[in-house]
């Protein structure tokens, strides 16, 4: 049995992860009918049912209720077709008729999905002037950053610091306690401050690091809250009342 829907043919008993290849039992059934090139109005039920079960097994979907229900339905249709029909009976309702109707209906809908997919993708690539979040804003896309951009950003930080001084031995290690004292003193005067208030423009690297660690430490002790409203914007530091009370 060939399976054009999957990249590689899957060996017996191997683990398959492409559970979402099919959007449901009707999808699977339709693809079987296409692959086997059978007339949708004259489906060889026994044959297709066998293929269906084999595919279910192959895709490790033995426990998917919707697929099991379809398998049971196929077997029932087969059983109905085996029932003897009396000679001269006026009308015989093909037990496959309902299945054929559902398959055609589903196939029709798949065609509409293709149209929607094309239209939606086109529209997705255009922004309106004010994209207003409707009910809940979708989570931000993960930050895509190339190595070059990262290095440029690092370079910018180092440049902004006065004289990197690669050869100088830093006379004192990072002074987190000192920075904590500075931040506390600042927040004693004002309810909120910004990163720029804590770190001078010409700060040494160790001062920048001390300030950063101090802010993180104080945030951990819930003495203050940190917020950055937009990517790359200035960091806001707010006094946390709960921390004061504690």
């Amino acid at each position: 049995m060939t399976s054009p829907h999957q990249g590689a043919s899957v060996g017996q008993g191997s683990f398959v992860v492409e559970l979402t290849t099919f959007n449901g039992p009707l999808d699977l059934l339709l693809s079987l009918i296409r692959d086997e090139k059978v007339d949708i109005y004259d489906i060889p039920i026994a044959h297709i049912c066998k293929q269906f079960l084999a595919k279910m097994h192959e895709l490790a979907m033995n426990d998917a209720a919707d697929y099991l229900e379809m398998a049971a339905r196929l077997l029932r249709i087969k059983a109905q077709m085996l029932l003897p029909r009396h000679e001269g009976e006026v009308q015989w309702d093909d037990p496959r008729a309902e299945l054929v109707r559902r398959l055609l209906e589903y196939q029709q809908m798949r065609e509409v999905v293709d149209v929607l997919e094309r239209l939606g993708e086109d529209r997705r690539n255009r922004f309106a002037r004010a994209w207003t979040p409707t009910l809940s804003a979708p989570p931000q896309a993960p930050l895509a950053l190339s190595l070059a951009e990262l290095l440029v950003a690092v370079d910018r930080v180092i440049r902004s610091v006065k004289q990197p001084g690669v050869h100088d031995v830093v006379p004192r290690a990072i002074d987190v306690d000192g920075a904590i004292a500075i931040v506390r003193a600042l927040l004693a005067l004002r309810a909120s401050a910004r990163w720029r208030d804590v770190v001078r423009d010409d700060a040494e690297p160790w001062e920048v690091l001390s300030a950063l660690l101090a802010l993180l430490e104080l945030a951990r002790r819930s003495e203050l809250k940190l917020a950055q409203n937009r990517p790359f914007s200035d960091v806001e530091i707010r006094r946390e009342l709960a921390g004061e009370a504690a």
Binding site: N23, L26, D66, M109, R124, N125, R126, A128
Partner: protein
């Protein structure tokens, strides 16, 4: 550009949603429908000919100024705007069924798709693409769903009639009323007993 075109441009800039032609007419009591239409044409032409990063598009039941697709990636990279997530195949199937059969209940959608659609319906509701539009007559008065204006907007449709008609699809159901009557499809090739 004439002054009406400029007025329309300002209104389109100010509105977060597409504005229908009829509503644009309210901007200027003296403007005829034809005048608004020709001003819109002028504005669209202005964007196209002079080479702008945005263009005037009619969709989602009205007119809207949208960025051109070639700038999307740069804008998204700079995190100034984020594209909505792509819908899954299952979500698109559900949406297609609702678009064509609205108002329709959950059970009927599941019947067509062959799988339960509870979770997908919920996410479509959250994204504002569908909404409860009525209640059915049947047992338990089931909620019936329909598409929203946002659906039109996100699929660049002017109105629902712009979707391909059922008889335009290559696989048209032979039954004349597929929407309501699950009539037995004709089954010609039945081998005689």
């Amino acid at each position: 550009m004439n002054s009406l075109a400029k007025l329309l441009e300002a209104a389109l800039f100010a509105s977060p949603r597409p504005i229908p032609t009829d509503e644009l007419r309210a901007l200027d009591a003296d403007a005829s429908k034809a005048a608004v239409q020709s001003a819109l044409d002028e504005l669209r032409e202005h964007y196209n000919v002079d080479g702008h990063g945005v263009e005037l598009v009619e969709q989602g039941g009205g007119w809207q100024v949208l960025t051109r697709p070639e700038y999307t990636e740069a804008i998204e990279r700079a995190q100034m705007a984020v594209r909505p997530h792509r819908l899954s195949g299952a979500a698109l199937e559900t949406l297609a069924i609702i678009a064509y059969r609205q108002p329709i209940g959950r059970a009927d959608i599941a019947e067509i798709r062959g799988v339960d659609v509870g979770a997908i319906l919920k996410s479509l509701l959250e994204r504002g693409l569908v909404d409860v539009v009525a209640r059915g007559e049947g047992l338990g008065r089931p909620l019936l769903y329909g598409t929203t204006p946002l659906f039109l907007e996100q699929f660049a449709l002017r109105h629902l009639e712009e979707l391909p008609r059922i008889d335009e699809l290559s696989i048209a159901l032979r039954s004349s009323e597929p929407a309501t009557a699950p009539a037995t499809a004709p089954v010609p090739a039945v081998s005689a007993a």
